[in-house]
């Protein structure tokens, strides 16, 4: 069996198997008369491994045999397949973020002064982890409290060119007319034609 015929068979078997496949198991894919030599097998596996250059998976040999596995470089993306969606952010977090955005640089104490309640450490931590806010300095007063500001990630996320493109306070007071295209998803009533439309796809048959 030529390498060109051998490779697709091995690749398919390795990708179809849930477990790593040993050389012995790979040999069992072939009937006696077509069974490749050890050298051919090794050569084909080497070629398959080389084919993985620049791809999302790699062919590796582990204790029990060979397997394709997801490359470390793209692993972070792949794990999002099983990501849990967190709950919506709390009002407190959004208010804190808004104050930092509009009043930066601002200390935690100043945020608390405006909001009238203590800002939890968790909120600041979440905002920092999301890379939306960061410490930009310290106020030169006793205790040297941290001054918070927003980041470029924050601007990117909200589609803002710079801080000046944040709506003005006056515009905020009149939010209803502001940015009609940024409709906040309210509980929109389901259109009548959708509610009783069954999910059934129509039959493909052409009736006569």
């Amino acid at each position: 069996m030529t390498l060109d015929r051998l490779k697709p068979i091995l690749e398919a078997a390795l990708l179809a198997s849930q477990q790593p496949l040993s050389l012995a198991q790979l040999e069992q894919l072939f009937l006696d008369h077509e069974r490749p030599s050890h050298t051919d097998l090794a050569q084909a596996l080497e070629a398959l491994a080389a084919d993985c250059a620049g791809r999302g998976v790699e062919l590796v040999e582990v204790a029990s045999g060979f397997r394709y596995q997801v490359r470390t470089e793209v692993h972070v993306y792949v794990t999002r397949l099983w990501a849990e969606r967190s709950q919506k952010y709390s009002r407190a977090l959004l208010e804190t973020l808004a104050l930092i955005a509009y009043r930066q640089p601002i200390t935690r104490g100043e945020i608390e002064a405006v909001r009238g309640v203590v800002v939890s450490t968790q909120i600041i931590k979440t905002l920092e982890e999301r890379e939306w806010v960061r410490v930009v300095g310290h106020r030169d007063v006793p205790g040297r409290p941290a001054l918070y500001g927003t980041t470029r990630t924050f601007l990117d996320y909200f589609g803002l060119k710079n801080l000046d493109s944040l709506p003005t306070l006056a515009e905020i007071r009149d939010l209803e007319s502001l940015m009609p295209e940024l409709q906040f998803p309210r509980e929109a009533p389901i259109p009548a034609q959708l509610s009783d439309d069954s999910t059934l796809a129509p039959s493909t048959e052409t009736r006569q």
Partner: protein, 286 residues
């Protein structure tokens, strides 16, 4: 008729795969007199999906003229069938029985002379059978087509790769800019309410500052005005210190002196230390 059928079946055998396997034995031909022959019952049940399927087979492969079915033979087989029904699957056999009855009915109606007027309303008894055969054949073919589709397990397998350290991550929730602005509007509205609060808090700190100022002013001694202003507490501290000095002046507890315009301002206490402890009567405009 029966012999013809047998001959046809025998002829067809050469080029055909067995159409049925009963207890391991391949059957290349249909048993004689196969409409519903008792001998062939197992063959029928194994190989055909019902009377329509059987009829289709007979019509297509055996060139059987279903309009020429000998009624005497059918009736005989019909009775034999009823006897066998006691041992075999009743509901399956019943369908063949019904078909036999339909065939017999078709034949008998065709033999009867037709009243010239009634023909239009009375549909040809064969038409319904033909329609059913046609309809069944379409889906028989459709089933074969579906069976021919490459499917998982038989023709393909889903390809998968191993994922090292498969752990769930937490995806942060999405936030709409509008949502953020609404939050800010709310906080601004609430801050408006807090403003009155803050005035009262400042009154207290002004009173406290007045106490502190008096403590800093030994009786009769002048101090420069600017040295009394607390700079370590930011803008608020400056404002509070300034207000406190004005309040003390208004209450006549201190004397504020400036020798000429733009010259330094000096402050001197006009109360004794013991009096300074009692600031009760002092009221600020609230």
């Amino acid at each position: 008729m029966a012999n013809e059928l047998h001959a046809d079946a025998a002829q067809a055998r050469q080029s055909e795969i067995p159409f049925a396997v009963v207890r391991g034995q391949p059957f290349y031909e249909l048993p004689k007199d196969l409409y519903i022959p008792p001998d062939a019952l197992e063959v029928i049940l194994d190989a055909f999906e019902g009377p329509l399927d059987l009829l289709l087979y007979l019509i297509r492969r055996q060139n059987l003229d279903i309009l020429d079915i000998p009624i005497a033979a059918i009736t005989r087989q019909y009775i034999g069938y009823i006897e066998l029904m006691q041992t075999l699957k009743l509901e399956l056999a019943a369908e063949y029985l019904v078909m036999a009855a339909i065939l017999a009915e078709i034949k008998s109606r065709l033999l009867l002379p037709r009243p010239p007027e009634a023909t239009d309303e009375e549909a040809d008894p064969r038409a319904e059978l033909i329609r059913r055969l046609q309809e069944y054949e379409r889906f028989k073919k459709a089933a074969e087509d579906i069976d021919a589709l490459p499917r998982i397990e038989r023709d393909t397998s889903v390809a998968g790769a191993y994922v090292p350290e498969r752990k769930t991550t937490l995806v942060p929730p999405a936030v709409d800019l509008r949502e953020l602005l609404l939050a800010f509007r709310d906080v601004l509205n609430r801050a408006d309410l807090f403003t009155t609060h803050q005035v009262r808090r400042e009154v207290l700190s002004v009173r406290q500052k007045m106490t502190e100022l008096l403590a800093m002013l030994p009786a009769g001694e002048f101090r420069e005005f600017t040295s009394l202003i607390a700079t370590g507490e930011g803008r608020l501290g400056v404002v509070v210190s300034f207000l406190a000095i004005l309040e003390l002046g208004k209450a006549g507890m201190i004397e504020i002196v400036q020798e000429r315009p733009l010259a330094p301002v000096y402050v001197r206490s006009r109360v004794a230390m013991e009096e300074a402890d009692d600031l009760g009567p002092i009221e600020t405009d609230s």
